[in-house]
């Protein structure tokens, strides 16, 4: 059940109606739990049961950690939880990847192989809820929060359907207190939720899915197209992946708001970042901050000198790449991000000794240049992320750099692409300046209502036929 389908909207409208007509907190929690289970089970009920079992295990282990005084016992219980959570993640997501990689390596070395891949399906959103469970267990272990005593509340923290399948990765410390807080139907939040939802819907249907029409055919066979089409496909994919994921997040935040919950912002106009470090502070914020808190800092963070910091950055970002998917291209993408972050750190330090250059780069034209440069660098690295193999990525890069004959034009007339670029640019600039808010607030309710209906209509009419699942559902 995708957020952008009529079946989800029907499901959510019914849920909202029943939810706010129940005056008691506890039945509402149970209702949300049932709805979340149904939401996930609509893909696969067995996987939904597996999540419930793993959540129950974490619930019991966290209580065990809290009640234990002996350090070794606490560590053991945390170890069991991490083993169970990461074990499930590895089993479902990475086993076949490692087996196939080993198989290929053995074949390449001429050794006999006997591996068989497992017949498993990847549970949607497994990487997201695994990270949520880990942050809870680690925080309980570190005594940063008490273990949750109410099973239903804890299960809702993991299973809450708006964030279940593609984040944002919520922190137990932020979310569990919200479950306990009394709630009442609030038109301010309903309106806020509607805004988020419409914005997300428009990003997903009218931009991301439409940009896929430019990107997909070219990424599938880059050598069939000319250089300009390949460059356009690369930029189209950058817009697609951003609007797809941030659109999903907006819809998740919007639905949560309408139910009286607040999820963390996950994007902050990342394509306006002036360097790659800033970019990762604006892109998939909940993952970046999770990696910082639960991987980069435990590895030593930036405490051990330049070499160790760079090593930690590279490890963190490479694992970040692997988190995205079980393929070497994702590992490569992560490593490229790590290398870009290291390069940026070194360049930043070097610039401090060059006040004139630093001054130019900090000026308005210099900042515009840095934004454009960061954007292009990220887009170029996205080719590895999107390509099904390094061979495909190499073909893309080759065609981008060496002009050759091919199908003239782009798969869809370029007009739509440039129109989308113009809309995105205008939206970013307006969003950054905020000048539109005051006049908008003065508009009457009917005018605002009509404009929302127009956005909804435009999103639906511009959505290409067939529809596409969210990219981050695969992760």
């Amino acid at each position: 059940m995708l957020f952008c389908t009529a079946s989800f909207m029907g499901f959510f409208a019914l849920l909202l109606l029943v939810y706010w007509s129940i005056p008691w907190r506890r039945p509402r929690v149970w209702l949300l739990l049932v709805a979340s289970f149904y939401f996930y089970a609509s893909w696969n009920k067995w996987l939904a049961i597996i999540i419930c079992i793993s959540t129950l295990l974490d619930y019991l282990l966290a209580l065990g950690i809290e009640h234990s005084v002996a350090n070794w016992r606490r560590k053991t219980l945390l170890g069991v939880s991490l083993f169970a959570n990461l074990g499930l993640l590895c089993y479902f997501k990475y086993t076949n990847f490692f087996l196939l990689s080993l198989d290929e390596a053995l074949i390449a070395s001429g050794a006999p192989t006997w591996f068989r891949t497992l017949r498993v399906i990847l549970p949607i959103g497994i990487s997201f809820y695994t990270f949520e469970a880990i942050n809870y267990m680690v925080d309980v272990y570190r005594r940063r929060m008490p273990a949750e005593r109410n099973l239903a509340d804890f299960m809702l923290f993991i299973l809450f359907f708006p964030h279940l399948v593609a984040g944002p990765i919520v922190r137990a410390r932020d979310f569990l207190p919200q479950i306990k807080r009394p709630k009442h139907c609030d038109w301010v939040r309903l309106h806020l939720g509607l805004q988020y939802f419409l914005m997300g819907l428009f990003k997903k249907l009218a931009i991301a899915d439409r940009m896929a029409l430019y990107a997909d055919p070219v990424f599938d066979s880059p050598l069939d197209f000319r250089t300009a089409a390949v460059w356009i496909a690369m930029f189209a994919y950058a817009l697609q992946v951003y609007c797809d994921f941030s659109g999903y997040t907006d819809m998740a935040i919007g639905t949560a708001h309408m139910l009286g919950y607040k999820l963390a912002e996950n994007f902050n106009m990342p394509y306006l970042a002036a360097n790659i470090a800033e970019f990762w502070n604006r892109w998939h914020i909940s993952l970046s901050s999770w990696l910082r808190d639960y991987l980069f800092i435990p590895l030593g963070g930036s405490r051990g000198g330049a070499w160790k910091t760079n090593r930690n950055l590279l490890i963190t970002m490479t694992l970040c790449g692997l988190w995205h998917g079980a393929a070497w291209t994702y590992v490569g993408f992560g490593a490229i991000q790590g290398l870009m972050l290291i390069t940026q750190r070194l360049f930043h330090r070097w610039c401090k000794g060059q006040p004139r250059l630093d001054g130019i780069l900090q000026s308005l034209p210099g900042t515009v240049f840095r934004i454009a440069f960061t954007f292009v660098c990220f887009c170029v690295s996205l080719v590895v992320f999107r390509a099904p193999s390094f061979g495909h990525a190499f073909e893309m890069y080759t065609r981008m750099l060496i002009p050759a004959p091919g199908v003239p034009g782009t798969p869809v007339p370029e007009f739509g692409f440039w129109l989308t670029v113009a809309v995105m640019l205008a939206a970013h600039l307006l969003g950054k300046s905020g000048v539109w808010i005051r006049p908008t607030l003065r508009l009457s309710a009917p005018v605002l209502g009509c404009s929302y209906a127009l956005v909804l209509g435009l999103a639906l009419v511009l959505a290409p036929q067939g529809g596409k699942a969210f990219i981050y559902f695969n992760f």
């Binding site: 309106h191 988020y196 739509g416 309710a445 209502g449 929302y452 127009l454 639906l460 511009l462 036929q465």
Partner: protein
Amino acid sequence: MSSIFLLPAGKGRRVIVWSLLCFAASQVALSMYLDYRRPEIRDPLYGYRLRSLRARLAESPKAPLFLALGSSRIKYSLWPALMKVHSADGVPAPVVYNFGINGMGNIRELMYFRRLLADGIRPEWLLLEVWPPLWTQSGIFEETRMVLGEDDQHWGDMPLLIRYFSGKPDVVKQGVRRSLLPITDYRGSLIQATLRSLLPREQVSETNRHLADWIPFDNTGWFRVPWQRNTPEEKRIALEHGAEEMKPLVTPLRIDPRSDAALRELLDECRTRGIKVALIWMPEHSLTRGWYPPQARALAHQYLDQLKQEYQVPIVDTREWVRDEHFVDYCHVGSQGVAPFSERLGRDVIEPIAEGKNLNTEVLFQEDGR
């Protein structure tokens, strides 16, 4: 985040209510626009044909309309441009229009006829195809499949669909969804009609290819049969395939109650409105005529005889009007057969009834069967 703003509760509530109202109103407006102004966006099969029919009527505004309604067997066989129809002095020659649509059985005939009436088309005569396999509502002629897969429903079709497909929730659900939320089902066609440059080039080419299926050859509604079978071997295979399709439908023949009800409803409606009707059994290959077992023949004859008695409608039997070599398969007339068939239908059927004469018994269906 600066792309989101807060409103006071009262205004927030009003904005939400207005959004829902505006969206609902926009969907109703769009549905009506598609039904009455741009039917070709919602249902190209119907819409383009209606446009062509209107253009034809505009050429002879006072002429009586003879509308032929039926399946692909009419669509590809009857070319009114080849008819040399004269009429009584002082009466303009009739306009004959072919409104055949692939796989159209009795329920869809009724549905399309109602739409035509709602769109202001009022024929003087309705030439309605009758064919036993179409009465069975099974196999390739099952209209549920056609309605789900090919037709696009109008608001006005809903009562009819609910009555005839109440046991098929998918049909009713699809009809309701398409009527109430047209923006999701017709977005491709809407963009096609307004902003083609947003569509993939392949999709545009595909639509252009489809135009040949939607826009008739000329303003008489005829379509050239899109498949050709020239060699004896191709024809033999086509006949074998036809036998596989048709024999199970007529062995034994069973008239589906919904087909019967739809046909009677159509005939009742014509009688009420003063529209004259002639039923036509279209040409069949000699082999096809032999595929009817005695039970099927007897039942078909009995049924047609009943209709003739109850509604006082002539039943024209054209089964043997086309030579076997002019068929492209077991029931479709190829391009060589179109001219002789159309000319004869014009001369022996259209012209006499346009002049108010009785039809020659040679063209009429014989109750004792052949």
